[in-house]
Symmetry: C2
Subunit: 270 residues, 2 copies
């Protein structure tokens, strides 16, 4: 399994040279600490320089198992289930751009997290699901070689697809081989009655894994039993990345160090 951690790309729009230097510096540190890969969090692929990023990734011997897309929802409000068709169209285009970026930088997956949106009170859940299926199906067809990884996210952040069972239901309904699932231990700690059983339940769907502890600090800083989770992942023959999507705690530097040390302690091998 690849030892991986999330790094945000600098937005060209705001990117003073300093931000680009920060990004380069993050990749250097991650590489020096012994990570194999980075999950890139990208707001808008049109705002970043894919060639420059590809060069840096090569320079630091890092691969990109997945691209995170949640910022487009958090910062711009784009979602697959908005009632406004124009916003849905923009969200759809954004994910297509992310799939193209994945091809350019040699990535293989694009994460469908918060960009699914949230169903406002009083609105028909079925209509939202139809919007979601329409958008995601068009993306899946657009680049069949790129996997979309649907992430169950806890109830406080969205009311669509909170747990592994509801994500699997929609994956089965859409029924395309490039729609799979990302499981995140922080969300699982809230939503799954039994984390290990849920991993077994989704064994044929899991294509990406986020490690974050119960308090969203680096793994090892809370009470999640990661050993038991790794055993379950071995059992289902998961070979992808273990990617830390965590708060930069106790400090951004310490977070990088604690995570890789814990990965090594757990015996995660490339």
């Amino acid at each position: 399994m690849l030892k991986c951690i999330v790094v945000s790309t600098p937005d060209a729009k705001f990117s003073a040279l300093a931000l680009k230097e920060d990004f380069k510096d993050s990749l250097r540190k991650v590489s020096e600490l012994g990570y194999d890969a980075v999950e890139l969090a990208v707001r808008d692929p049109k705002m970043i320089d894919a060639n420059e990023i590809t060069k840096l990734l090569q320079q630091y011997h890092l691969t990109v198992p997945a691209i995170g897309t949640g910022q487009a929802y958090g910062e711009e409000g784009l979602s697959f289930t908005d009632t406004d068709p124009e916003i849905r169209r923009k969200a759809l285009q954004r994910i297509k751009d992310q799939m193209n970026l994945a091809i350019e930088i040699g990535g293989s997956q694009v994460i469908i997290g918060l960009i699914r949106g949230n169903v406002k009170p009083g609105r028909d859940q079925k209509e939202a699901e139809k919007n979601f299926i329409d958008c995601i199906s068009e993306c899946l067809e657009f680049r069949p070689q790129i996997t979309l990884a649907l992430e169950p996210i806890n109830r406080y952040e969205t009311n669509l697809y909170n747990d592994v069972r509801s994500a699997k239901r929609i994956i089965d309904k859409v029924n395309r081989s490039n729609l799979r699932m990302l499981v995140d231990t922080f969300h699982m700690n809230i939503e799954e009655p039994n984390i290990v059983e849920s991993i077994r339940y989704a064994k044929n769907d899991i294509s990406h894994v986020h490690f974050a502890d119960s308090n969203r600090w680096p793994p090892g800083c809370g009470h999640i039993n990661f050993k038991e989770i790794l055993t379950a992942l071995d059992e289902i023959k998961y070979k992808g990345a273990i990617s830390a999507e965590v708060l930069p705690k106790p400090t951004p530097e310490e977070c990088l160090r604690l995570t890789i040390e814990y990965y090594k302690q757990l015996g995660i091998r490339s």
Copy 2:
């Protein structure tokens, strides 16, 4: 320890006879199932008939270890830390009314949950804390025989006092013997790096306990280790109630039954 579960009181304002019958029916069921006590969730004590409730409690041999007050925030937006002094004044009056109700129905504690409020982005956290301390101090002085139980609540519901350490800090700062702490296992599962250690840390402050499983279903429906928590509570000589504040899942009826069965399985004795 008292085997307890939360029951909402009917709002006089909306209380068709049917609602009062529902309330009576809930108390009857709770009593028949073998609970010792109910935690009453009350929006506004002025809207309920304390005499009638006292009679029902006697009829069904139920005591009230604590009164929950969160609805006043959820439904009316009252809070101790609102920027509007008029809203703070109303919140203060509401908690005073709840303390009077506690005296009338023979309760002993009033819960300070969401009524603490939430600090909006850009606002000074210190100013909010000062507002909180002013309000709570006035209440504590108003009825010294009634304990206020401050509940650490997870980050998604408030940004004030999310964990046992931050609650203890403010309890120590206010420094009055009738300000104590309510610990809720659902919130602890998200916020406490180690639930048992946090119970030990707050051993002199804990005056009330909520049991809810990791998914906020009845205890036993998720992955929290309640045996280990009970052992820690025994260790610190906790003698109060174990009160289930949970989603009414899988159904309201089943929720009552599953909770009491699990309490008995855990060996909780009155």
